[in-house]
């Protein structure tokens, strides 16, 4: 009998299976609590926190909400959002460049010390500012929202296509700055649609309020859709689910 018989096992397993299991587990919790979880991603400084400040204030009469805040090094963002009266749980990421499902699970445990998640309608996960890494790490969200500010240039959707491909909704932010910039916002939108023709693309400004009504209408619609069929799992919108 051969001592060192060469063997081969076929696994055919998702490289990120460990993260995926935890993400699926998180989503099962979200579904049992009947809440919609949004993963908000962008490069640093694209305006995630400013937009959340506006949107949380506008939606507070309508929805019960909480935020899991993945800002990398400071408590500043959390303080800005708590000022609006929404519970914010800072997730300590150390120096990680993205949130993973285990970190969000840890954040949920902290959140449960403050409130019963089943009382929530919307759970916001503000990811670490980065256009690359967060795109590959699902945290259990129902919808991915990507932000791109007009100051970042129209090439970014083509340069970081995975993020924009994965997003269900892309918000083009800081449109109040357009009069001062040599940038073609139509070209930004075209480039987003090249890599993701199915995404909802909305132009917004947290300063003058442009587009916020449309953005909030989209959120209401997603909330209703998820309540109507919580297990439809639109989180794989493009049918390239990993095996």
């Amino acid at each position: 009998m051969a001592m060192h018989l060469p063997l081969e096992d076929t696994l055919g397993l998702n490289l990120l299976a460990a993260n995926q299991h935890q993400a699926d587990h998180n989503r099962e919790h979200f579904d049992s609590w009947d809440l919609l979880c949004l993963n908000v991603m962008s490069s640093p400084g694209a305006g995630k926190t400013s937009l959340l400040e506006r949107s949380l204030a506008a939606l507070a009469p309508e929805f019960r909400m909480a935020v899991l805040e993945g800002d990398m090094t400071t408590q500043l963002d959390a303080e800005r959002l708590e000022a609006v009266g929404i519970p914010v749980v800072p997730i300590t990421t150390g120096r990680a460049c993205h949130l993973d499902a285990a970190m969000v699970s840890g954040g949920l445990t902290l959140l449960q010390q403050r409130l019963a998640p089943a009382s929530l309608d919307l759970l916001w996960v503000e990811n670490v500012g980065n256009l690359v890494c967060p795109a590959e790490f699902e945290v259990g969200e129902h919808r991915k929202v990507a932000l791109l500010s007009v100051t970042e240039g129209d090439d970014k959707p083509l340069k970081y296509p995975v993020m924009f491909r994965e997003a269900h909704c892309v918000l083009i932010t800081k449109t109040d700055l357009l009069p001062y910039l040599p940038v073609d916002v139509d070209q930004i939108e075209r480039h987003i649609r090249q890599v993701n023709p199915k995404a909802e693309v909305i132009r917004v400004s947290a300063i003058n309020g442009e587009g916020l009504d449309r953005w909030h209408a989209w959120l209401r619609q997603q909330r209703q859709m998820e309540r109507a069929s919580p297990h439809s799992h639109a989180h794989q919108p493009h049918a390239f689910a990993r095996t």
Binding site: P6, A18, N19, L158, H238
Partner: protein, 132 residues
Amino acid sequence: MHEVDMTKCLLLSMQQWRQQHQPQTPEVQQVHLQVGDFTCVEPDQLVFTWRAAIQGSWLDGAELAIETVPLVGRCLQCNSTYTPRVDQAYRSPCCDHPMEEIVSGRELRIRSVDYTLPQPISGPDRSALPTP
């Protein structure tokens, strides 16, 4: 450097696979991965972090063999496949259509493991089993 976290995920999967072979510890020669071009993974970075992570562990010496999978799109206008290119904004060259369907390129997969079992397998000698 999300490749570090990807390596951690990979090691967890390898650990689970190892448990299938208990009480033996398989000696792993190669782990075969498929990594699509339309992912955020840098294969060289993954190999680098893998080598650093397995030093001194039961996987020490195991090589990571990465097969890259090209990005292929399907033009929904004419149903032909094409290679989306960034300088063409990922549009189909045949019909100038946006990149709607991705046929391949999103793979992040552990395909297979090459290994040997250092000790003879205990229990009945399989060669002695009657052939059907």
